[in-house]
């Protein structure tokens, strides 16, 4: 896979350099006055400089072929199916959590991730996911006092004192 070779390493170092630029521009946009000894921009600029320096060193390592992934997985293909189900579940969750509410959106997430990790029983997963999401929701909202907004299941549960 190209992302893990030298090209990937160079892209990674470039990403760190890009982050350094984002931090530097962000720091320059912070309003400041000459009043404070250490204004709000000092540490941000220092972080930008640090990231920039590290990015250059990483780039040098990448060009020298020394920036290599931790594990090589020789010849093993990327598991696109599993990654796709997990990432898809996360995207669905963020899109549906407000219209459907936490419990139903989480049940869907549960089914997708279980599928990605090789489960072949979506109906069973949906049942387990629903019970787990409901239990977690009740524990966090009733015991910890965390608020979750509305939702189909949440409103029904809310009717129970």
């Amino acid at each position: 896979m190209a992302g893990r070779g030298r090209g990937g390493a160079i892209a990674l170092a470039a990403g760190v350099l890009a982050l350094a630029l984002v931090v530097a521009f962000g720091a320059a946009r912070i309003p400041h006055s000459a009043y404070a000894v250490v204004g709000p921009r000092v540490v941000p600029f220092a972080v930008a400089a640090l990231l920039g320096g590290l990015g250059l060193l990483l780039l040098a390592q990448a060009l020298a072929g020394q920036l290599v992934p931790e594990e090589s997985f020789a010849g093993e293909p990327l598991d696109r199916r599993a990654l796709g189900w997990v990432a898809g579940g996360l995207v669905l969750n963020v899109a549906l959590i407000q219209p459907l509410g936490f419990v139903l959106a989480s049940t869907l997430l549960f089914v997708c991730v279980a599928r990605g990790f090789g489960s072949a029983r979506p109906a069973r997963d949906a049942g387990i996911g629903l019970v787990l999401a409901l239990a977690v929701f009740l524990a966090f909202s009733r015991l910890l006092g965390v608020r979750f907004g509305g939702g189909l299941v949440e409103d029904l549960v809310g009717l129970v004192p």
């Binding site: 990674l12 250490v38 599993a82 969750n93």
Partner: protein, 499 residues
């Protein structure tokens, strides 16, 4: 004597039935998440941070401390039976422990790990009890400049010195410091790096970063290669009782492990991995039959397990006396202190004796509970390991979502969570350590605060960091910590080339 009286008071607090209950809940939960691969104490405590709004501080910290210690015990069970370390500090345990399990000596391996954890955890807690008041006395002499330099030293050691890739560690640290800068600057009221989003004015919540890196990142990591998801549990065979021979070989290793683990944990460098590596190396050196190493030597489990637990106690020394977190878990606990409006530091023991000594006493009790929980009940924890992977990781992501969505019910937070999860995945792929991100995020703003204090006192004169002897020596140490490993490696390479 004063210390013993204070500790006695602490036991009165920790032995209250309510607090005993919190302690028991903590160690049980801690063992549970320690056993589960992919869940760790930092993530668990982060998810439970909302508890700080409803429960009083002493109870919350007794709970968190129980989780912290419990995860160390649970992690070893996973390392021995599954060869997948449940916790980064138990990687070494897997080396010999898993071999022992494969050879039908899983029982003695679990027993020497649990008893060694108890012995070293208790010795480490004793060390904490008597060292902490001394460190507090030293720390009272620290001025803002000294604190700033101490934090710089901690930054270098946690990210560059202890890891295998200093550049990657420092990059992770800088990323974390940047994340910590987002939001309104408390001193000047200026918004920093909020990109016009109201959600970011209060800063990025550490829960989101922790859950993103450790839960979402870990799940994506396991999803990306099918071979990572293959694992098989070795059933526990062999008696849980140690034979006379096992005892004879274990106890010196426990004591040596504790002797290595506590001081290294207590240094402002932290990290439980290094002491476990050192202990393994030492046991191998001292072993009467070094050829057994690699084939299931009991000293190779006993020593590193003891080192791991003693260093967990050691990490609490800089945490409670200086407010200096040197592990991801300690950083999360520090943010829990902040949530109560308490600033850990040399004054903490004086202003909150109930809290500090109650916490320390609960560590002694927790160790005892953990021994009982892990030895006779080990069969129960083995059953936890048999939760099917699809359900386990699906469940972890549901917990990750609730922990994040519960903060402000904002999908923006969820997007941020997934973005940080993706970063965590990339970091894992390329061998960037993640703990420095959390430490930088929590410690960065504190370092900025000390920098400002120091320069306000000195009226902008930067030389204050070099003219105060304490600050100057700390900065010198930081410089050494940054470059010594580099020079060392070069020296070794030259020797190898020459020899």
């Amino acid at each position: 004597m004063e210390t013993l009286a204070a500790l006695g008071q602490g036991f009165l607090v920790a032995l209250q039935p309510v607090n005993l209950g919190w302690g028991l809940l903590g160690v049980t939960l801690g063992t549970f998440v320690g056993v589960l691969p992919g869940l760790g104490p930092a993530l668990t405590i982060a998810l439970l941070l909302p508890i700080t709004y409803t429960v009083d501080a002493t109870a919350a910290f007794i709970l968190f401390a129980g989780i912290y210690y419990g995860a160390m015990y649970g992690g070893s069970t996973t390392s021995i039976l599954l060869n997948t370390p449940g916790e980064s500090a138990t990687i070494i345990t897997a080396l010999e422990g898993h071999r022992m399990a494969l050879a039908g000596r899983g029982g003695p391996a679990l027993a020497t790990a649990a008893i060694g954890s108890f012995v070293a955890g208790t010795l480490g807690t004793l060390g904490l009890t008597f060292l902490a008041p001394t460190v507090v006395e030293l720390a009272l002499a620290f001025g803002p400049a000294d604190y700033f330099s101490l934090m710089i030293l901690a930054f270098v050691t946690v990210s560059a010195t202890l890891g295998s890739h200093p550049l990657r560690g420092l990059t992770a640290l800088a990323f974390g410091i940047w994340l910590g800068l987002v939001g309104v600057d408390l001193q000047t009221g200026q918004a920093r790096f909020t990109f016009g989003l109201l959600e970011l004015l209060d800063g990025i919540n550490v829960i989101i970063v922790c859950v993103g890196l450790f839960a979402v990142g870990e799940t994506l990591w396991l999803a990306h290669r099918a071979s990572l998801r293959e694992s098989s549990i070795v059933p526990v065979r062999g008696s849980l009782w140690l034979s006379a021979e096992d005892w004879r070989r274990s106890w010196p290793a426990w004591l040596r492990g504790a002797g290595i683990g506590f001081p290294i944990g207590a240094l402002p460098a932290g990290g439980a991995e290094v002491p476990t590596f050192l202990s393994y190396w030492l046991e191998r050196r001292l072993a009467r039959r070094p050829e057994e190493f690699g084939r299931g030597a009991i000293e190779g489990v006993a020593g590193p397990e003891a080192a791991n637990n003693a260093s967990a106690a050691g990490v609490l020394v800089p945490m409670l006396t200086l407010g200096l977190p040197t592990s991801a878990t300690a950083a999360i606990v520090l943010s829990a202190f902040q949530s109560y409006g308490i600033n850990p530091g040399p004054l903490l023991m004086e202003t909150q004796p109930q809290l500090v000594w109650g916490l320390i006493a609960s560590l002694y009790i927790g160790n005892l509970l953990l021994l009982a929980l892990n030895l006779p009940l080990v069969g129960l924890w083995v059953r936890v390991l048999s939760i099917p992977q699809p359900l386990l990781y699906a469940g972890i992501l549901v917990f990750a979502t609730i922990g994040t969505y519960g903060i402000s019910q904002s999908p923006i937070d969820l997007l941020l969570l997934y973005a940080i999860g993706a970063v965590g995945f990339l970091m894992r792929l390329w061998g960037f350590p993640t703990a420095p991100v959390i430490i930088g995020m929590i410690l960065g703003p504190l370092a900025e605060q000390e920098l400002r204090r120091a320069l306000t006192i000195s009226q902008g004169d930067l030389s204050v960091f070099l003219t105060r002897p304490l600050s100057a020596s700390l900065l010198l140490l930081a410089l050494l910590a940054l470059f010594a490993p580099l020079l060392w490696r070069r020296l070794v390479r030259r020797n190898l080339a020459g020899g």
